[in-house]
Amino acid sequence: MTDAPMVLAERVSKNFGTNKVLRGISLEVDPGEVLCIVGPSGSGKSTFLRCINHLERVDGGRLSVDGQLVGYRQKGDKLYELKLKEAAFQRQEIGMVFQRFNLFPHLTAVENIILAPMRVKGISKAKATARAMELLERVGLGDKGDAYPAHLSGGQQQRVAIARALAMDPKLMLFDEPTSALDPELVGEVLDVMKELAKSGMTMIVVTHEMGFAREVADTLVFMDEGVVVEAGPPREILGNPQHDRTKAFLSKVL
């Protein structure tokens, strides 16, 4: 582990047409750190997350993961957009979990997990399957390997999705509101898996509305609104003693 940050964002901006979604986000995530991002909807949290693995292109500022510029290559003082293959290569190290799970419905849980390791990394089916079973065991679904997503509950689907992301052995995991689409009684099982993952030392960026999870697990809590970081710091300070009016207004609604 080096001292260099895993994620370094310097005045990152992103526009959709004339709509400025991100207006200069600067933050650092150290290896092993868990960063939670909260904020009202439309504040740009998800967009920022999607910029980190280049699902969205950054329009301004600098964003790098593990010392590598995301989506661009710098040569001299010029920036070149990465080829699709190079961008895909960068994504290998970044796992992502979506709000709507996005499991592949035509594949079983195990097939969902082994697809990318086999096709992208060229790992043999036997090896990939063994690893998939290990990961399913880890998320508490050792007996669901042959189940199709439609036959799993939302919480189980999201845990398979986490296992699928972990199968690529990422250095960084991104969670985009992973529990927002779940029935309330299923939220806990997903958060438990995420807590275990955080304890194991994974670097995580979590966009969430689960303040309890943020308080307990996050090393840093970031409050975003209207495309800027309004406030950032240890969760107990932000949640217990918010400095900014907008933070106070938001927290008074959700807590």
Partner: protein, 345 residues
């Protein structure tokens, strides 16, 4: 005239089978009662007109069949004579192969066009749009006539720099072979329809699927092959089956090229000699019916198979009768299919 009936219905009185003294009205509010609710015994509503219409139709049909059976113009003995004629069965074989080759060509070109229309490149997009506009906007009969005379417009193929002496000159032997011309003509026309079916299928796959696949570092090609296309097949295959049935019948139009070795062409050829057009039309129709019936049975199982499983509803956009009326008009978004996997256990 329905008055006596409605009177009788009201008369249907309770207590005939149920416990005595308990009317349905009296039992309504009593939730603590363990006894099952009393069964309704009523005389069902009669539909006299339905029966009248049915009888008339059956009578009319019977009259028509009896009349046709003895009418000399139908030439039933000739139908029997030619139905298993070698020339006819060989022509039926030609029709089958025309259908198969044309559909294969149409699916390949259609897939290409669909991908072009979904590409980000505006030139590819416009070319595909233009192609579909032309080939869906003109009658297939007219197109076939055109392909029939294209060898007159382009007697030779040349390769070289325009307006200079060509390097290579090949005689146009593609469009002088009428069977190949027919396959090309049918395939090019059908491709325009297939592309819309394929496009609707590709668009039906939730955007999140592509995103998840991309986030797993899979390339566009891998995403298509392993994630998008397998899911799109559910939407693509049922209407494609309909297109096959439709194509089988459309092959009769190759007479426009003119190709006359298919089922309809050969039937006409025979009747031109024997002066018995009606029995040979019946013979050809029976063969077409045999093929379409087999395909329809297959289609039934395909649709059954592809509508089960995930509990998702089909688009319901397939035309009820087989025919080239597929899913979307150019520029109109394909029907969105819900891929809501936010399931309950």
């Amino acid at each position: 005239m329905s008055e006596p009936e409605s009177d009788r219905m009201i008369e249907a009185e309770p207590g005939k089978t149920g416990e005595p003294g308990r009317t349905p009205r009296a039992g309504r509010g009593r939730h603590d009662d363990d006894a099952p609710p009393e069964e309704i015994v009523a005389i069902p509503l009669r539909h006299p007109w339905r029966n009248v219409v049915a009888v008339l139709l059956v009578l009319g049909l019977a009259v028509f069949v009896l009349d046709a059976a003895q009418r000399a113009d139908y030439g039933w003995p000739d139908v029997g004579k030619y139905i298993f004629d070698r020339r006819i069965s060989q022509a039926a074989w030609v029709t089958l192969w025309l259908t198969i080759y044309s559909m294969i060509g149409a699916i390949v070109i259609g897939l290409l066009l669909a991908i072009m229309r979904l590409s980000a490149n505006p030139v590819l997009k416009s070319i595909a749009w233009l192609y579909i506009w032309i080939f869906r906007g003109t009658p297939v009969y007219v197109q076939l006539v055109f392909w029939g005379i294209v060898s007159l417009i382009y007697p030779v193929f040349t390769l070289g720099i325009p307006f200079m002496e060509p390097w290579v000159t090949i005689p146009n032997e593609i469009f002088t072979n009428l069977f190949i011309t027919a396959v090309i003509g049918l395939a090019l026309n059908e491709a325009a329809y297939m592309s819309e079916i394929v496009r609707a299928g590709l668009l039906s796959v939730d955007q999140g699927q592509e995103e998840a696949s991309t986030a797993l570092a899979m390339s566009w090609g891998q995403t298509m092959r392993y994630v998008v296309v397998p899911q799109a097949m559910k939407i693509i295959i049922p209407p494609t089956g309909n297109e096959v049935i439709s194509m089988l019948k459309t092959t009769s139009l190759v007479a426009a090229i003119p190709l006359s070795i298919d089922l309809y062409g050969v039937s006409r050829g025979i009747s031109a000699v024997t002066f018995t057009p009606v029995p040979l039309l019946i013979v050809a129709s029976l063969w077409y019916l045999l093929f379409t019936s087999i395909l329809m049975v297959g289609q039934h199982y395909i649709e059954k198979r592809f509508s089960r499983g995930t509990g998702r509803v089909q688009t319901g956009k397939e035309p009820a009768t087989p025919g080239p009326a597929p899913t979307a008009v150019p520029g109109e978004p394909a029907p969105p299919i819900s891929t809501d996997f936010g399931g309950k256990g």
